[in-house]
């Protein structure tokens, strides 16, 4: 029995030694972001911060499919695992109201030159409620939904002549959704080539990010941001027309397009299956890389998402930097944010491939000429718009994702689906007390 007691004591001691945290003298900042190229750029950039301050930066890259779940689970568990979270704009409402992000309003007003940041980016990634002047983040990577196209097809003389003969105007990157449809139809030659790869996927925010810019450009909206009334907005005739238009593109898309989001449209493009593809600008470095896109890296052009009959709006992408309310390193995190927003750092961020929110850097010739797609990206900026950023965004998003996907696969008509989405959205707002 004595032996047993001895073993027990030894085991307890061993467990205690393992459990006692290491008392490493070096300060460390942990940043959570999704696993993609911009995170690699930030990792590289953060080495300068470490060199300047001696503070180590650990950038945790989480796969896109688990990014939201992993961060939110950490928040719900009040974990101090992450000091800075680079999260989607839609997360602002939930994480500010839920107390997961710290209020940065006073700190930003005192330490950051807000006027140097693009106002659209500040509103989308930092401010909640919109127009309140309350800040919970600083824009880190400002992205937009854009298009890439095959220059070898668009510039081929025989294609240009055939297109002009059929449609009566020159073949060029489309400026309107009507032109986009014509070009998509023209290049649809199954089973080897299709006209366009749009986002139709039910995954996360796939079809919503693809369709909402068409909806806005056709004159539609999600609802009244003042009263949160939805009926008559999201199911208006304009949105019905927009959704019918968006569905019509399916005839010119590869057969598996109902599953397409950013990864799939990119793959379809690289495989030579489509003449045009929708994607976030942040993924375009891979398209011009001869390693990642050996067949078309030098035959690719980029254009701004087209305008609709009643306007021009583009889905905003990218993320903002927020400080976790559970972080034990909030002061260091603020130091990092302040360092990151400095002009020379933003210039290097843009040089590495990051999409800077710094207005002056964004409009500089150096940035505009840095990549073949930066000009189209900068031109997209005035048209950027976002989904609801209220705490209930996930429920609102789920209703849209399901409803719009049902229209694409033919389970519901556009009007039926939109009426259903309007009913669900109003129920969600009512439940959350927006109509009280």
């Amino acid at each position: 029995m004595k032996k047993l007691t001895c073993y027990f004591v030894m085991l307890t001691l061993a467990l205690l030694i393992i459990a006692i945290p290491s008392t490493d003298a070096q300060e460390k900042l942990t940043i959570a972001w999704a696993q993609w190229d911009p995170a690699n750029y930030l990792d590289e950039l953060s080495k300068d911060f470490t060199a300047e301050t001696g503070i180590e930066v650990d950038l945790v890259q989480i796969s896109w499919s688990h990014f939201q779940d992993q961060v939110f689970t950490a928040f719900v568990g009040k974990s101090d695992r992450y000091d800075i979270v680079i999260g989607d704009s839609q997360w602002l409402g939930r994480n500010s109201v839920g107390g997961h992000y710290i209020d940065l309003t006073d700190w930003i007003n005192e330490n950051i030159d807000v006027d140097s940041i693009y106002a659209t980016a500040m509103e989308a990634f930092a401010e909640y409620p919109k127009g309140s002047g309350k800040y919970w983040a600083l824009p880190a990577e400002v992205d937009a939904n854009g298009f890439l196209y095959r220059t070898d097809l668009f510039e081929a003389e025989n294609e240009k002549a055939a297109f002009k003969e059929k449609y009566g105007y020159e073949l060029a990157p489309p400026k309107t959704y009507a032109e986009l449809r014509d070009i998509a139809e023209f290049f649809t030659r199954p089973p080897d080539l299709y006209g366009v790869a749009p986002w139709y996927s039910k995954e996360y925010d796939g079809i919503t990010m693809g369709f909402q810019q068409v909806m806005w450009s056709y004159g539609g909206s999600y609802g009244d941001p003042e009263t949160y009334k939805v009926d008559g907005h999201i199911n208006s005739d304009d949105v019905v027309k927009a959704l019918e238009y968006y569905k019509s593109l399916k005839a010119f898309s590869p057969p598996d397009s109902p599953n397409y989001y950013w990864a799939e449209t990119l793959d379809a493009y690289k495989a030579g299956k489509v003449a045009m593809a929708m994607d976030y600008f942040a993924f375009f470095p891979g398209v011009v890389s001869s390693d990642q896109n050996p067949n078309y890296y030098d035959k690719t052009g980029f254009f701004v998402s087209p305008a609709g009959p009643k306007g021009h709006a583009i889905s905003i992408g990218g993320q903002g930097m927020s400080i976790s309310a559970y972080s034990k390193n909030q002061e260091i995190a603020k130091q990092y944010l302040k360092w990151f927003m400095q002009k020379p750092v933003q210039e290097k961020w843009a040089q590495l491939g990051g999409f800077t929110p710094h207005e002056e850097v964004l409009q500089s010739e150096v940035f505009l000429n840095a990549t073949p797609f930066n000009r189209a990206f900068a031109a997209s900026f005035p048209y950027l718009r976002d989904f609801w950023a209220v705490p209930e965004y996930a429920e609102l998003l789920a209703a849209c994702q399901t409803g719009w996907n049902q229209v694409i696969i033919g389970s519901k008509s556009a009007k039926e689906a939109l009426d259903e989405i309007a009913r669900k959205h109003e129920a969600i707002f009512e439940d959350a007390g927006y109509y009280d």
Binding site: K202, D256, S257, E395, T402, Q406, I409, G410, S411
Partner: protein
């Protein structure tokens, strides 16, 4: 006094308690407490993502809303449809394989192990590689093989009429070996002398199967069916990966998929707890039917 007692050692009761208590504490912390806590939350309006908003008691409102929501009933129907299709197919294939393998032949061990492989893989991995196999154009293996027979490729995960079939095929590929394994265990436990006696009486193969094999193997078959039904009712991983979160539309949106959405996307914790309890009640009820049938079969045997 203390050292005297220490030297006498612990009593049998104390040693028993020392061994049992860690398990008991773990069970209470990891199973009993969450079960009771989630039951408590199911009667409240509560979002785990809003810890600063206290849970508000709303009685049975979560249950009432779930039970009167036609969409939720739709997900239950989808799940039931999947369970029936998948479990019956797996039963037929698994039992058939077990009958084929229940004899001595060369490399039997290797063949059995190979058949069991799918069951050992992670469902997410299975979902991912079947996603490629089922790709809707010629890059998908199945459509490539069928391309000489069909003029158009099949939208395995994009066609609303086909998507559920794709999920059933993948689940069957993965879990038929489990049915086979349990059936094989049952078949190999049947005493040989029963067949020898039947041979002496010149019994037909059908007679031997109907009156010896089936009655003796059926308790194990029912156990296999019970496990598979319970598991299939909780189908989540394959649907999440293969058909992109229950698509196309809501065609493959099972109850568990929707529960995940409620709990971890919408963080509608109270409602999600209520839904989990509804699912638990249904699974317990189904299990009871199986157990009763099992007892009946055992009695007959």
């Amino acid at each position: 006094m203390r050292s005297a007692r220490f030297s006498r050692g612990f009593s049998d009761y104390q040693i028993k308690m020392a061994f049992i208590m860690p398990t008991m504490i773990l069970l209470i912390l990891m199973n009993i407490f969450p079960l009771l806590w989630s039951l408590y939350l199911s009667f409240h309006r509560y979002k785990a993502s809003m810890p600063n908003r206290p849970a508000k008691f709303i009685g049975v409102q979560n249950y009432a809303r779930l039970l009167t929501d036609p969409e939720i009933w739709g997900y239950f129907q989808t799940t039931a449809y999947f369970v029936v299709l998948a479990v019956i197919t797996q039963f037929i294939i698994g039992f058939g394989l077990a009958l084929l393998l229940n004899r001595e032949f060369r490399y039997k061990g290797v063949v059995t192990t190979l058949i069991l492989l799918p069951m050992m893989l992670s469902p997410v991995v299975v979902g991912l590689f079947w996603r490629f196999i089922f790709a809707s154009d010629a890059s998908g293996l199945v459509n490539y093989l069928l391309s000489s027979l069909l003029s158009e490729s099949i939208g395995w995960t994009t066609d609303p009429k086909i998507a559920m079939l794709a999920v059933v095929i993948v689940d069957t590929w993965m879990w038929s070996p489990f049915m086979m394994l349990i059936s094989l265990a049952g078949l190999s436990a049947i005493p040989k002398y029963l067949y020898e006696a039947a041979d002496v009486d010149r019994a037909s193969r059908w007679f031997k199967f109907r009156w010896i094999t089936l009655p003796l193997v059926s308790p194990l078959l029912l156990i296999a069916l019970l496990f598979r039904t319970m598991d299939a009712f909780k189908m989540f991983d394959i649907v999440y990966v293969l058909t992109r979160e229950g698509g196309p539309g809501t065609v493959t949106e099972t109850v568990s998929m929707n529960l995940y959405r409620l709990a971890f996307r919408n963080y509608n914790t109270g409602k999600a707890c209520a839904m989990a309890y509804l699912l638990l009640i249904i699974i317990v009820a189904l299990s009871n039917i199986y157990v009763k049938q099992l007892n009946k079969v055992r009695g007959e045997a």
